[in-house]
Symmetry: C2
Subunit: 198 residues, 2 copies
Amino acid sequence: MARYGKEHKLATRQRIIETAGRRFKRSGIDGSGVATLMADAGLTNGAFYAHFESKEDLVATAVSDQLRYQREQLAAVAPGRAGVEQIVRAYLSPEHRDNPEEGCPSAALLDEIGRCGDPTRQAYTDSMLAIVDDFAARLAPHDPQSARTTVLGVYALMAGTLQLSRALTDRRLADDLLEQGIRNALAVLDGESATSGA
Amino acid sequence: MARYGKEHKLATRQRIIETAGRRFKRSGIDGSGVATLMADAGLTNGAFYAHFESKEDLVATAVSDQLRYQREQLAAVAPGRAGVEQIVRAYLSPEHRDNPEEGCPSAALLDEIGRCGDPTRQAYTDSMLAIVDDFAARLAPHDPQSARTTVLGVYALMAGTLQLSRALTDRRLADDLLEQGIRNALAVLDGESATSGA
DNA sequence: CCGTTTATATTATGACCGTACGACCATAAG
DNA sequence: CTTATGGTCGTACGGTCATAATATAAACGG
């Protein structure tokens, strides 16, 4: 009875989710209307509600998807301290700052997510925990439970630093802040591993 | 010829700015309409444009005002390391997290500000620098220039941590993150002062 | 003490965009 | 050729920013 190959709708849905993720990061959640989101995916607004119950439904889904993608990217980096430093430097780079739509969803949307309803915040929390646990296991295989909070703290540090760097009009200052953020992130990570390692 | 006491309009303007600041922090910038903002101040939408050129004009003004207020609050705290620790603990407290409309404008709005136009970001930058220079002078009277970036980094760390704590639905985890943020902020501050002091 | 003057605020209006839904259509699978 | 699926288009209703016309109220002169 399947009139369309069953991938069709799923592929469309996925396309909407991905383009929406990018649009949200560029224009904000409240700043992105359904019509615009659908146009980004090459569709018109009416088709939206065949794929999602509501805008909030899409928001939660897109946030999850964005964090899932971020998790994959992080997992692809070489293990060990060298990998960690590479991640930190890439995250707190001028390139990342200047291309929010291709970057971290938390840096682009965190305060807006904080104002979202429970379903969206729950989706964010779940996906966030997957990232953090992934990373904690790599960072401290002997005690991933305690490393969880450390990783969360560093993540917050990096997201906040990138946001502030984006908000400043003084380029020089914004660049200096990124450098400072790298030092801070590494100091926290090294300091913590020394503490828990000793 | 002034038929109204000249304070009247200024007082009204200030009332709009202050109530708008609170509303922005609660509902976001894009999430707050002009009519709502005016109703908060006990007025109707039409009167808005007698006080401000546009919504963006108000946003820039309100952001400045919020940061000016934050600067005053910070200046009122006792100097020395004890004062610094007090500030960090108050900032990264569950009370602050759970009352965004009375709290830090950066924690509530930073990513949205990053997407604002130049005038707003410029206003943010100027007010931010006033806070940071204030604080840097208190923290390292001998070398406030270098302390500037340190303070900016800690500010970003704290804002990001508070945002993330607000986004998480797991209360326990959110609380743990705040504690971790306090440790991180103090570690950065103590580490930096040791470096520049030695 | 009262009316005039004028600043301030209200209400009405404009054109546009927001979410959400329903009717209709084209197409591709069987 | 039938059928249901995924899509477009049109629509409802409210909210958005902004402006203009109108009403109100405060301070002054007489």
